[in-house]
Symmetry: C2
Subunit: 375 residues, 2 copies
């Protein structure tokens, strides 16, 4: 048994992504496939790909075959908010936005306001609160830079006529025991959470329904969401639609080194609406894995893989591979100390958030309407 756990409702322990590939039956994104993707995208691959942050896939070769035959795909991703969004939430959206730009394709973004209402009843929040969080999430997601002409963002309860009609068919093909095995539900689970995956499946074939013929779908997602599509891919096939291809990203670790930032553990995550002062404070507390004293650090050096500051550069704040290598090298050699290191990262994060917040407020003034779909 592996000593970590990755499910849509909890990520625990130090994740061995290679073990995960085997557990989930997903494939590594290897060199040849990356080159093929790079060629079709017409440019250097995103640093998520170069650094194996997007590390695995299902049936990407099939999707690229279709693309080469002239069958354009569309992208589908989403987020179920249970609190304000943090940096870790942005990964699949940044990657999806990059794919949209490179392939000039349509994006469907589902924001299920009901999912966490069902899945996290222990939080005791009302559906209306999740709905408000979902509206904030829509702003923060659109701010990533999606093309408003080719992006459709929808909240489940506002788009339920479109979604439910299709979810009915999905649900008819999934038994309780499948859900029990896949999601670990039981007698005490509410029937909403048992039903929910039917709703998440719909956007993976919705374009095929709308177009009246099969349209390939690619789903970039955090690897914890894979289970939904392990269940849904079979059903979608039975309904006569193409099974979606998937690309999986790793989680941005928390500043304290936990496997995944959590929206419900306030201290370890950088929220998209954090003040500059809060960011500085949080980054200052980050785990760096450096030696106990500056003297020792200069002498022995550190380990960038265990230094969360280095990891944040790698995941989000240093797109240039050569510059990243310099940062890692300095960490290894002990030529940079925690203090300057953290000050620089905090500055970059705050620079990023400043732009992000401005975009959010611009969208809030009305531009968001270009993105939102509702019945």
């Amino acid at each position: 048994m592996a000593d970590f756990k990755v499910t849509p409702w909890k990520v625990e322990g130090k994740i061995d992504y290679q073990v995960l590939e085997k557990q989930f039956g997903i494939k590594e994104l290897d060199g040849e496939l990356l080159k093929r993707l790079e060629k079709l995208a017409g440019g250097a691959p995103h640093w998520f790909l170069r650094r194996k942050i997007v590390f695995a896939h299902r049936e990407l070769p099939w999707l690229l075959d279709e693309y080469e035959k002239g069958n354009r795909f569309y992208l589908y991703t989403g987020l179920a908010p249970s609190g304000p969004m943090h940096l870790g939430h942005l990964l699949p959206f940044m990657f999806t936005q990059w794919l949209q730009e490179k392939f000039d394709v349509e994006v469907l973004i589902q924001i299920p306001d009901e999912e966490k209402y069902w899945a996290r009843q222990n939080l005791g929040m009302k559906l209306e609160e999740y709905h408000e969080l979902a509206k904030e999430a829509a702003l923060n997601i659109a701010a990533v830079g999606f093309n408003p002409k080719k992006t459709r963002i929808f909240l489940d309860t506002d788009y339920a006529k479109t979604l439910y009609k299709q979810a009915v068919k999905v649900a008819g093909h999934i038994t309780y025991s499948t859900i029990k095995d896949a999601f670990g539900v039981g007698n005490d689970t509410n029937i909403g959470w048992i039903f929910y995956t039917s709703m998440q499946a719909v956007p993976a074939f919705l374009k095929s329904v709308e177009e009246g013929h099969n349209v390939p779908c690619l789903i970039p997602l955090g690897v914890d969401q894979d289970v939904h599509f392990r269940v849904a891919r079979d059903v979608i096939g039975k309904l006569g639609y193409y099974k979606p291809a998937i690309m999986h990203n790793m989680f941005l670790p928390s500043l304290m080194g936990e496997a995944k930032m959590s929206a419900s553990e306030k201290l370890n995550a950088i929220y998209l609406n954090d003040t500059p002062e809060a960011v500085v404070k949080k980054v200052n507390k980050a785990l760096t894995g450096q030696q106990d004293t500056a003297e020792l650090q200069k002498k022995l050096g550190g380990n960038p893989d265990k230094c969360m500051v280095c990891q944040y550069y790698k995941f989000l704040f240093e797109p240039d591979d050569r510059k990243l290598e310099k940062i890692f090298d300095a960490e290894r050699k002990g030529t940079i100390l925690a203090g300057e290191h953290k000050a620089d990262l905090a500055k970059r994060i705050n620079g990023f958030l400043e732009i992000h917040k401005k975009r959010v407020e611009e969208l809030r003034k009305g531009k968001i309407d270009q993105f939102i779909a509702h019945d």
Copy 2:
């Protein structure tokens, strides 16, 4: 154990309605309550009440208390089609229409096109087929004579935005084990059927959501549907709304004497679209319980309780109690033989269906739109 079974998916055996009252925890509609209802309705009670076809209730006294305080109630009923409608389906609608007329109140009518898709997977029908059956059902229900200004008929998949948002809350309050106990579902049950009761619960408090304050709701239904509200009433209370009151009707027996006409057993039911010839044929085969020969029948007489022809007069085709008593009496005394008896009933049924079909075709030309609500 009783030797009959009444569930939303199957009705078997000879039903003892008194035992059922105890099993379900529902109350008999007794003399005092009937008189009170009669007084408030401002006229003689419907023959369904006089003949105990509508035989039981939940919290009707509370509903009438509210009414007397000036809190108008609304009515909610529905039908999940799995085939064309038959005479037995009309009972709750005829009674609801009578209540609407007497109390001048609003009616919500739910036609869940997804329910039987989930609950009757053995029939192998597509969701689109159920949707078409649901549209036909809407016509046949409106034809019962509802007030178009005060009646809202909706198909679930066309009204899912309105329904799903509320069903999410209901589902969050129902565990799998509750559904397992109430509906007998198990590992092989599809997750749609497990979820479904959440959708059926919604119209029982929808007016309260819309009005922003609690509005009493009365649900006339076939007693097999009671289980949905045994589950839902608790949840609706937890959500802060009034628990609905309920009035239960017995089933119209099949012409062959089975406890309930079944839409899936073609021979025993009179369909609303049957030809006059088909009606004559079916009525001729009806179980009368008469003696083996005309001689014996004249000598010994028959039993109107076991004569389906008599029962059809009682349920639907002889509203006048004195005339009904004459028919029953003739049956007991053997002064009427099966042949004339059946010929007369067939004539009445065909007279009824002729008018009904005309109304359906009138509605089909466009008037139905006055009734249909969709998102």
